[in-house]
Amino acid sequence: MGRVAEIGRQIGWYWGSLMGDNHYRRYVDHRRRTHPDEPVLSEREYWRMRHNVTEANPHARCC
């Protein structure tokens, strides 16, 4: 049972990382570590910033 739950957690983690569900958590970890004294963006603000970055530097999609 523990093994099944572990595999399920791994798949959930993979899918979440691929699609973006845990990107905000990742960002918060990063800010806490690198700039522990500064306030962290809220999840809403974080996604606005992400989209602004994409707007300024679009990624190609291939054929």
Binding site: W15, M19, N22, D29, Y46, A56, C62
Partner: protein, 761 residues
Amino acid sequence: MTAPSTSDRTEETRGDVTYIRTAKDLPPVAIIDRSPITTKHKIVFAIIAVLGAVAWAIIAFFRGETINAVWFVIAAICTYVIGFRFYARLIEMNIVKPRDDNATPAEIFDNGTDYMPTDRRVLFGHHFAAIAGAGPLVGPVLAMQMGYLPGTIWIIIGAVFAGCVQDFLVLSISTRRRGRSLGQMARDELGAIGGAAAIIGVLAIMVILLAVLALVVVGALAESPWGVFSIAMTIPIALFMGLYLRFLRPGRVSEVSLIGVALLLLAVASGGWVAGTEWGTDWFTLSKVTLSWCIIIYGLAASILPVWLLLAPRDYLSTFMKVGTIALLAIGILLARPIMEAPAISSFAGTGTGPVFAGSLFPFLFITIACGALSGFHALISSGTTPKLLEKESQMRLIGYGGMLTESFVAIMALITAAILNQHLYFTMNAPAAQTGATAQTAAEYVNGLGLSGPPITAQEISSAAESVGEESIVSRTGGAPTLAFGMSEVLHSVFGGASLKAFWYHFAIMFEALFILTTVDAGTRVARFMLSDGLSNLGGPLRKLKDPSWRIGAWICSLLVVAGWGSILIMGVTDPLGGINTLFPLFGIANQLLAAIALTVVTVVVIKKGQLKWAWVPGIPLLWDLVVTLTASWQKIFSADPKLGYWKLHSICSAAQEAGKLCSTAKAPGDVEKIVRNTFIQGSLSILFAVLVVIVFIAGVIVAVRAIRGGGSASTEDEAIPSRIFGPSGLITTKAEKEVQKEWDALPKSAAKSVGTGAH
């Protein structure tokens, strides 16, 4: 690469494994494992090699027997495993020489958003989603005109020795240059002229790519109310997803994607009902020209609207569908185990008179398959995008080489779905309307006259095939996408759902292809717009204002120019009396392969400059092969005296006819003659432009390479190495030594330097 100058760097060797630390208080950041291959692995790889050889022998030499599609899957996978384990390793050890003790751009500039060390398996998914699209699906379908054998060989062997090598090496040189783009690297390595030619080449090639992909969508959706309805519904669904993520629940990407996919399936399922109603038929039956205008307007709007509203949610949907559908198709093929209907090598391979695309096997097979074996466009993703997320240099083999192997596998599955179709039906769908006459009766007469193997087809059979997938007609549904959808519906309905779901699967497949082609169109328009404004701003004067990305009017004008570029070629294609795919797809293939030539030139020059002349053949041989193929194809397209092949020959014939007031080629009215004269002029001019640009880039490359060999010394363009402070395993499977080191890192307190968000810890 010089070793990090810090005195903190220490090496410790235990048995065959060397552990490298860059700081005293941190666990090792790099592992060099020199363990010899174990006997168990030797046996496993020997079995894989033998199995692959058997599969290849069955594919290549069994004549007059029925061949099961599973053999193609086995031959492909076994070859990939051997190529990845041995050839990619050879390249890694002798050319790339990854240094895990040096930080990647992702680690140096880590900002938790666009630069971020990402788990290798996740990055593999991102990279694959970015490189895979409609190209590897459509190319092999069209190439089936030549039979299955030449296509299979090129898709698999071409990937192992050319496509994967390009992707892997471009990724490696860009990673060592802070993630610079292909255009920037061309300028740095080849000088001003070579660099400028490369940048103009990339932009021109991008425009033709977008036009041809849009043309494929038009071919799939024209006169198909069901298809148009389900694709039209993707726009409100994407808008809903965008608003949901922006205002309701930011960050819940999987949740909203699941909702989006459910709505999408509902749209596909209800499309059949809509197409059956009178208003549905009225609203959604669109001609090719109307549909082209819709796509042009859509492309313009999508490139101007904010990213979060349309582009980002579409991207989520298309990633979801891409991964899901490709997995579904693989399972379907393994479960259904269909039999090949196509011949190994068709009569058109030698004569070059096939109706799907003109020209003989060499060089046009390689041009047509394009992305599935070698794709220049991947160089745009391997440079720039992927290095910003790469955790460790030693992971480049998995992501660069392995990512392309996966794309090649997608191409093999597309080839299988086209090869299992009745060959008469295949040519009914893929020959241009000028030949088939666009009705079931005339199409049956036409394909029965082609001398194909198997019993002749009747008009009744063509009509019932169309009916089985819920379409009015399947005659001359060119572009490859409808054929692929038909083949997919054959495979999937036999495994999931039975005959009653066949029409659903057909439209599901159409929707899936159109979805990510449209995503490519809007992302590509944006990227091309940036390239254009960047290029124009370098000209100086008042154009310098374009450097400022927040200048909206400048952005709109550049978007308009890009859309006008591909839009006009699209309109030209759909109104072409010869059938647009027939004349434009070769141009797309040539453009893509020429871009690969630019990328391989840059890579070869870098390898030579680094003093690795002995290994220059690794990128050099694919480069020379690619140049021979594409320049021969360009030569034939420009100079051939056969009007079916040469753009200019047809141009001069039709110009003469126009002056004499006569008809030419397949033209049925004076207006058609005029169109042929104009279109052949544009296509011929583009062929010349592409070929000239690539020849300039290649010559610039040769000059730089010769200078480097003679002088021996040109400064390295690699950026200075910075010691890494994170750790990540190299391959797909974590080794024992890597697991132990990973445990040491996991035991560190949270505040220590660690790869962000990697691993499920």
